[in-house]
């Protein structure tokens, strides 16, 4: 599969985090009475953004690795079937 799942997850969380944090910056302070006075949109948005960026970094690295693995597999013999087939006794 040529897609490392960390990439879309990272993108989505960066986007969600940015939206939340931006909303937190511009929103009216009175809505935070519910959340005990904390501007949870801003802080949690930044946490999600940081998480998203870390995942984008690893996702990009992973996608490059997948691509080059697919490339080298195409160049050489079929990939090894590492421990996929069980070896029964006495054969």
């Amino acid at each position: 599969m040529g897609l490392d799942i960390r990439l879309p997850i990272g993108l989505m969380f960066s986007l969600l985090g940015s939206v939340l944090a931006a909303f937190g910056l511009w929103s009216d302070r009175t809505i935070y009475a519910r959340s005990l006075g904390y501007n949870v949109n801003l802080w949690w948005g930044l946490v999600l953004l940081a998480f998203g960026l870390v995942f984008i970094y690893f996702g990009r690295r992973g996608t490059r690795a997948l691509r080059s693995a697919a490339h080298s597999a195409a160049m050489t013999s079929p990939a090894s079937v590492e421990e996929r087939t069980p070896v029964p006794h006495g054969q």
Binding site: R34, F51, P86
Partner: protein, 571 residues
Amino acid sequence: MNSIELAGVDYAILGIYFAFVVGIGVALKRYMRSSTDFFLSGRTIPAWVAGLAFLSANLGAQEVIGMAASGAKYGIATSHFYWIGAVPAMAFVGVFMMPFYYGSRARSVPEYLRLRFDEKTRGFNAVSFAAMTVFSSGISMYAMGLLLGALLGWDFDFSVLVSAGIVLAYIYLGGLTSAIYNEVLQFFLIVGGFIPLVWLGLKDVGGWSGLTTRLAETARQAGFQPGAWTDSWAHMGSASANPMGIEWFGLAMGLGFVLSFGYWTTDFLVVQRAMAANSMSAARRTPLIAAFPKMLFPFLVIVPGMIAIALTTHAGQSGFTLPAKPDGSTNYDMTIPLMLGHYFPPGLLGLGLTALMASFMSGMAGNVTAFNTVWTYDIYQAYINRSASDAHYLRMGRFATVFGIGLSLLTAYATTQFNNIMDMLQLVFAFVNAPLFATFLLGMFWKRASAHGAFAGLLGGTAAAALHHGLTMPAAAAVGFKGGWLGTVVHGYPSEMAQNFWTAIFAWTTCFMVTILVSLVTAPRPDRELRGLVYSLTERPRDTGLAWYRKPSALALTVLALALLLNVVFF
């Protein structure tokens, strides 16, 4: 009940999530070339991805909403579903059972039953399992539609059709891979949506010690010892000392052994995720990796329930109460939605609701992918059209996705009409599933277990479950779906949960005994047909050459030690 107003930012967050889940399906479409790609992800999924999907497929809305409801109703004792229920079972399936599931190259759990026993056991399991997946996703769709209606004032048809449509789109396009990838995304979203809720809730009640003090009052009002809501084992000495109404033996045997092992080791919904892993060692690590976050989920889903009931007990200070149902009892199912509305401002509220939608979709996708695989391989290919081309089965898989979701929708709408039918169906499936673990245990570890033995055991176990249920009653229930329908009641249980656990114990024991007895008088299969399927005739997977943290046995011991520690800390 007042409905919560959503702001534009909340809809934006929900919209971003919808776009990403469908986008993943679109991106994966071009990799779906064969039926193996579609149903088994081509066996290419890395262990950590399969592990989080293994966890997430089980994490439906009913799990999130139900566990929070139980947290409010029974307190920290609900964690038994995790710390003596799921976690040991997950360790067991990873270390001992996965070598047969993955090693036999069976494409589904029913197919393993055919390889190990014979066609009739497989047919029985395939049909009951396929029906169960359709009904459970229908019932959870119904629950979700009602919930969104009560909470946001959304139209039932709108909520149900939109969420079903999105799940349909991404599975139709990207098959199991799409479901698995989205389950991983949904897992992080559920965690990201609920952490702030737990943090704010605990902050509000004064941390764990503040929560303990408040719940002591809750327990006192209900007539229990002060720690009944905050100690997991201390009040399990007798069924009347804890709100669950169960004593330690019924709990450990019924929940810990039969029900949890039965679910986590034989339910294709979760096992399918491990079967999609890219190697034997990845398949074995799948449930073990899942066990780590699983252990921490009580803090995410049970603690909000405990906070909610503590706030309700002190409603004067907190201004928060759980609503009552029409019959006057507390409506615990509204715990999570109301807690989100109580603590989350616009913005974060959108994230919390998206997390709830994500849990609903991951649970539904789990059912749908399990259904389309079992339908195509174990019903369609086995009994309807044996020798079609692979492209034909791939098309059938896509088609099964559509009609599986269609049937779930029908079930959801049928439930709005006839609520009792669902109670009855859930009951019947509980009877079918409880004994299955005995069949697998004997099948995998006793080579003498014969095909006729397994089938007779399954039927006997199912009958025993029905008999036990028909002759017993939980306290304060009417004769009918709650039990006692055989005319006489020979035993009364303090709670429905206690009755469930004991039904499972009876079903398991009967299946175990009947399978052994019938196997001893019928012919076993010759050893050469059982290689790779039974413990004594299969070479142990070699763990040498793996780093210690990748060895299934080392991971399993770590998982069990941590679960033990959690039990001790919250004793």
